[in-house]
């Protein structure tokens, strides 16, 4: 099994970088940035909507969704299309910059002692200490279904 890992555009935590991790099966596409149309009255992490393969899907900042400030916004010029698990139709595009990598499991990492430093930790299913920083697995189904929309 393979995973896609990409760095979060946030400040370091305890001197470590933060990375997001998704299963390859969840990632449907990686494209250069396309025009995003904002939707009024949306929370800050919802950047708008785009049309992708005849579907209207939201564009989100995963950093801001988890309550972090997003740094280097201008460098976030890639969009990663992810979908929910178990064949769910909901999708979103996640803004990201460079540094995307595909790795094969297992990755040498251990569960982090705490996730208290994540403002919206209820949206996280796991945090791991990895040789390059913290790996965060998000509850993408809950995010896409709007269960925890702010």
């Amino acid at each position: 099994m393979k995973v896609i890992i990409f760095p979060a555009s946030t400040q370091t935590v305890f001197g470590e970088k933060i990375y997001f991790v998704f299963s390859v099966r969840q990632v449907e596409d990686i494209i250069r940035e396309i025009p995003v149309s904002p939707v009024p009255f949306s929370p800050r992490y919802l950047k708008g909507i785009v049309r992708w393969r005849d579907c209207i899907i939201p564009v989100i900042s995963m950093e801001e969704c988890l309550g972090f400030d997003m740094l280097n916004v201008e460098n976030a010029n890639r969009l990663l299309t992810v979908r929910g698990g178990d064949g769910k139709k909901e999708r979103a595009m996640i803004k990201t910059g460079s540094g995307l990598r595909m790795l094969s499991l297992p990755i040498p990492c251990t569960p982090a002692a705490s996730s208290e430093w994540i403002p919206e930790k209820h949206l996280v299913s796991g945090v791991y200490e990895w040789e390059e920083g913290f790996l965060i697995c998000v509850r993408i189904d809950d995010i896409l279904s709007g269960t925890y929309s702010q």
Binding site: V39, I56, P58, G146
Partner: protein, 210 residues
């Protein structure tokens, strides 16, 4: 979630369904649409027809004050109420009442298939979906379809000062409660007096018999 998917089938329909006419307009530099049956009329925005009362505004149409919503302002743009040059007023139906929407520009009416209209993704909640539950993708561009009923914007038209004050006093909950308590108290007192009188009559009747 299932409810919303069911609603999608009903509201967005299939390719064989009848075409929908959508009025496209622009406000705050963004593109929007409105299903034509919700539109009553369109007027050129005239500053002399706008009345302000605190945060509320009204637009005079046919000697009637209609609640006014400056669309650019509610979208977070700077209020343009004072500068109405080139702007348009759309009178729309909101819960069977009229509301005036001031927009930057009326573009055109387009006829679209129902399947060109999609629901806003589930991740959007609250005011975003109440105001814009659907999206039309037309000519490589999204148009958020305004749902006037979801705006919750209709308020009472601006009333003359004295009348406004009286209305405010009438709807004050504590004043209404006070009136009701006093009414109930009086009714209870009348009931007790009547009961005492009746008891006295009965007792006096028994006394006479005795």
């Amino acid at each position: 979630m299932a409810d919303r998917k069911d609603a999608e089938k009903v509201s967005c329909g299939n390719k064989g369904d009848r075409m929908k006419e959508i009025l496209l307009f622009t406000a705050g530099g963004k593109h929007f649409g409105l299903e034509l049956p919700m539109l009553r009329s369109i007027h050129r925005a005239m500053p002399s027809m706008i009345r302000h009362d605190g945060h509320d505004a009204a637009y005079m149409i046919n000697d009637e004050n209609v609640p006014l919503c400056d669309f650019s302002e509610v979208l977070g743009e700077k209020s343009m109420s004072e500068n109405t040059v080139g702007k348009k007023i759309m009178i729309v139906s909101v819960c069977d009442r009229a509301m005036a929407l001031m927009v930057d520009r009326i573009d055109r009416v387009v006829s679209v298939r129902p399947d060109q209209i999609e629901l806003l993704p589930l991740i959007f909640k609250g005011k975003a979906t109440q105001w814009f539950p659907k999206v039309l993708w037309y000519e490589e561009r999204p148009f958020l379809l305004l749902n006037p009923d979801g705006m919750g914007y209709v308020r009472h038209p601006v009333l003359p000062d004295g009348l406004e004050l009286m209305m405010n006093q009438i709807v004050r909950k504590d004043a209404v409660a006070d009136i009701m308590v006093r009414g109930l108290s009086q009714a209870l007192k009348n009931s007790v007096v009547h009961g005492v009188d009746r008891i006295r009559e009965i007792l006096e009747g028994h006394g006479k018999k005795a």
